[in-house]
């Protein structure tokens, strides 16, 4: 089985995230970059499937600036076999639809894949639908927010878990799956894995190499534009008292004062 996993480099959620003043895109300079945690789960899921099948191949597909190669390395050191990386200045500021279209082209450079596995929701956006959008463009089924996943023969089944409850889904391969936060615990790369990753092939592409026209991506051609942005003043800390046996009563007093009870 050949599995493509989509990997995104994001600003570490532990660091303070900022938008740039000039074009309202994420200010990457000011933040620590890491592989998005949910993508580690996508990679883990791919590796688990490959191990269960006894053979197969896991290809990492990533779109993002050069420094996203760190995220790719992490996935390769966990055990993925190879990677395709689209890095081009021109993709900066692409909107969700453009991103889905470009990822679809990029996935198209991988031959004969059976399954695409992605994270359900990136930590730095609010779209949470790119895997389904990619599936739609590829013309294959989307089985999203999977907290359990199995493949038997050419059928993939998932347990989709969201606020609306559990939905059991099944489809024939090839298909796109996105995994949820409770799908698995990603492994730590071993020392051997880290060493091996250095020798694994990474196909570095620019737009032309991926067969994407410049007019299809980038801030200037985006289907939506951010027109302004502003940081909100941080919340000020209020009163803090140490409990001396009357802590609960003190809170009640405060809530009464605020007309909350």
């Amino acid at each position: 089985m050949k599995i493509v996993t989509l990997v995104k480099q994001v600003a570490d959620t532990y660091s303070e995230r900022k938008l740039s003043d000039s074009d309202h895109t994420l200010d990457r300079e000011g933040t620590e970059a890491v592989i998005d945690e949910i993508n580690e789960r996508a990679v883990e899921q791919a590796l688990l499937l490959k191990e269960a099948a006894g053979d197969g191949e896991v290809v990492v597909v990533c779109m993002g600036p050069d420094r996203a190669s760190d995220a790719i390395r992490k996935a390769l050191s966990m055990g993925a076999d190879s990677a395709v990386h689209l890095s081009d200045e021109a993709i900066h500021g692409s909107c969700a639809v453009q991103t889905a279209r470009a990822l679809t082209k990029l996935i198209g450079t991988v031959e004969g894949w059976d399954l695409v596995i992605a994270g359900n929701s990136a930590s730095d956006g609010q779209v949470a639908a790119v895997p389904a959008m990619v599936a739609d463009l590829l013309g294959v089924p989307a089985l999203t927010w999977a907290n359990e996943l199995s493949v038997s023969g050419s059928t993939v089944t998932v347990k989709r878990e969201t606020d609306d409850g559990v939905t059991h889904l099944s489809a024939e391969l090839p298909a796109v799956v996105s995994v949820g936060e409770k799908s698995n615990e990603p492994r730590y790369p071993s020392f051997k894995g880290i060493m091996a990753a250095k020798k694994k092939p990474v196909n570095n592409l620019d737009l032309a190499g991926a067969g994407i026209d410049g007019s299809e991506v980038g801030l200037a051609n985006a289907l939506v534009s951010v027109t302004s942005s502003a940081p909100k003043p941080p919340k000020q800390a209020g009163e803090k008292v140490t409990d001396e046996g009357d802590g609960g009563a003190k809170i009640a007093e405060y809530l009464v004062g605020q007309k909350l009870i």
Binding site: T13, R17, L19, H24, C95, A96, V97, A100, R101, S123, Q126, V127, A128, A129, A132, M133, A135, D136, G139, V140, L143, T144, W145, T157, E161, T162, D163, G165, T167, H168, L169, S170, A171, E181, K182, A222, L223, V224, S225, V226, T227, S228, S229, P234, K235, A237, G238, E239, K240, D243, G245, G247, G248, K250, I251, Y254, L255, V256, Q258, L260
Partner: protein, 313 residues
Amino acid sequence: MAEVLVLVDHVDGEIKKTTYELLTAAKALGSPSAVVVGGAGAADKLADGLTEHGADKIYAAETDSTDFLAPEVAVLESLIGSAAGVLISASANGKEVAGRLAVRTGSGLLSDVVGVTGDGVQHSIFGGAYTAEAKANTEHPVITVRPGAIDIEASAGAGARESVEVPAASGRQATVTGREPIQGGSRPELTEATVIVSGGRGVGSAEDFTVVEGLADSLGAAVGASRAAVDSGYYPPQFQVGQTGKSVSPQLYIALGISGAIQHRAGMQTSKTIVAVNKDEEAPIFEVADFGIVGDLFKVAPQLQDEVTKRKG
């Protein structure tokens, strides 16, 4: 006035409150048309509520298809041509329908907005640390609206009914083989609650979450949990608040035994009033708390519960 499509969010014949929020938001853009995709008779049951909340038109698309979300996408695609825009709830399903619709129709996708005007939309991002305004550069943008962000205004619409076909799905689709809806229980929904009491790792066990629930029930509140509490098995995942859980903005948020990691704060720091109880006076939750008690939650929470009950009694 151009019509604005609103995808009706409903489960088992019950309307979801977010639908009325969408109808309210749609009035800013044009004439609201509610689109009901569901089994036979689904629209009949919902029509009165939709009309009362401003639907000028109600499209009924009846289907018994087991294709996952494909009927919703196909119906909206067939109707979008004459619409000024499409509004969909920013739930997991809604976001997915919106994304698929946007790629098919080449529409700008504006996701998880908290406000809609004729000029564009408002976003609240990085857990409320930033606000941003955005607009679409295409015809009929597809917009998902964060549940709870819009205050419902009921003003009746014309409510004209029209049946529409569900076009056959293009491409292969995933099939729904079973559903297990969440048992809501008697407490309010997290994203709709005006008061939330959340517990963290400091609660220490699943059994002891009764302390959190007890206080919540005295206040008529929803119960939330930190990711550490969920991961430790103290409370089910759908109650997680934060970056990868729910974003909430109640009038009052009470955090018990939660340290206040940045990813937890991302989901609750826009709450109107925040109260924290933590035995570590250095805990970062106190940086966003309007009122904090440094102390043991097992002493403070039951006492607060007694005080609340006394005042009600």
